[in-house]
């Protein structure tokens, strides 16, 4: 794998930009899609947000300072885009973000791009009851299997705080699933 600084240089130079951006797309489209899909839940929305994410990444590359890893920076953009998308969608529908997510989960049963049974639906319903940050931490750790260090870099928190957050999230989810 080429050095990240070198890769960013290629992304910024007009001659190599196209090839480099193609590589960026093919390397990151799948993990970022999963990340976004886990937040917005339905495929069409995830598709929209993923496209916006890459457009934003492309437009802001020149402002990328290299203070964090490209990976974390892109995940951060994707997270922000997905959360903004959700809150705008909820606002447009005139319902709370939690209600919107519950509605989306109910619709998942009929979604052709969802292959899950009762336990998956129940787990999603349990996740919705968590505060936003815990939802994010749980999804990134449990579904996406990211390392605590990576999540810490993306969300800008300490590993210790994340571990505590994940622990709380798991407890609440177990309680929800047991009693429902």
């Amino acid at each position: 794998m080429i050095d990240e600084k070198e890769f960013i240089k290629q992304l910024l130079s007009p001659e190599t930009q196209n090839t480099a951006f193609q590589k960026l797309l093919s390397d990151y489209q799948r993990p970022l899609y999963s990340h976004i899909r886990n937040i917005v839940l339905n495929h069409d929305d995830a598709d929209d947000v993923l496209q916006n994410t890459f457009v934003k990444v492309f437009q802001n590359l020149k402002n990328f300072k290299g203070e964090s890893k490209l990976f974390s920076w892109m995940y951060r953009i994707a997270t922000n885009e997905a959360l903004t998308f959700l809150s705008q969608k909820a606002k447009l529908s005139g319902i709370s973000s939690e209600d919107l997510q519950n509605k989306t989960i109910d619709n998942l049963k009929a979604d052709i791009y969802f292959d899950g049974d009762e336990i998956q639906i129940k787990l999603q319903k349990a996740i919705v009851t968590l505060p936003e940050k815990q939802q994010l931490v749980f999804k990134m750790k449990y579904f996406e299997e990211l390392k605590y260090e990576e999540i810490a870099d993306i969300l800008g928190t300490s590993v210790g705080a994340l571990k505590a957050s994940y622990h709380h999230a798991v407890k609440k989810i177990e309680l929800y699933v047991t009693s429902n």
Binding site: Y33, L41, D47, D115, G116, L123, E174, T178
Partner: protein, 139 residues
């Protein structure tokens, strides 16, 4: 009731799928979008310029409002000829009423304005059929 323990359960997958070949065509879609955006996007500094120009135009327009209003008010003022015409043809004020309102200085001014040669005056008096009537009135 059996207590649910996440770690005791087999890993629960998210269950999310994508349409077939979704990722094969995805990058093309993004690149196409970028091309469109490059055409449409107005760089921020240009947008700023447009906003400042619009603001300047709005300020100038706002400043012009009182001036234009004043100008329009001025042009609405009646000029002397209009007043004269009105008084002559549309008002009930008779010549005599008007004469009553004149004071000495007005008459003097009128004398200056209407400088008639003696001859002209004579001609008028001679040609006027009411001359006798006027003379008797003077007396």
């Amino acid at each position: 009731m059996k207590t649910f323990k996440l770690e005791n359960e087999p890993k629960i997958k998210s269950g999310f799928k994508t349409p077939d070949n979704y990722f094969d065509t995805f990058s093309e879609k993004v690149l196409q979008q970028l091309d469109e955006k490059e055409v449409k996007v107005i760089p921020f500094y240009k947008r700023n310029k447009i906003i400042s120009l619009a603001a300047a135009a709005a300020i100038i327009f706002a400043l012009l409002i009182p001036i234009v209003n004043k100008y329009r008010a001025n042009s609405n003022e009646l000029d002397e000829a209009t007043i004269e015409n009105y008084l002559s043809y549309h008002s009930n004020i008779s010549q005599y009423d008007l004469i009553q309102t004149l004071d000495d200085s007005d008459i003097e001014k009128l004398g200056n304005d209407v400088t008639l040669e003696d001859e002209t005056l004579e001609d008028i008096l001679v040609s006027s059929p009411n001359i006798e009537h006027l003379i008797s009135e003077q007396n």
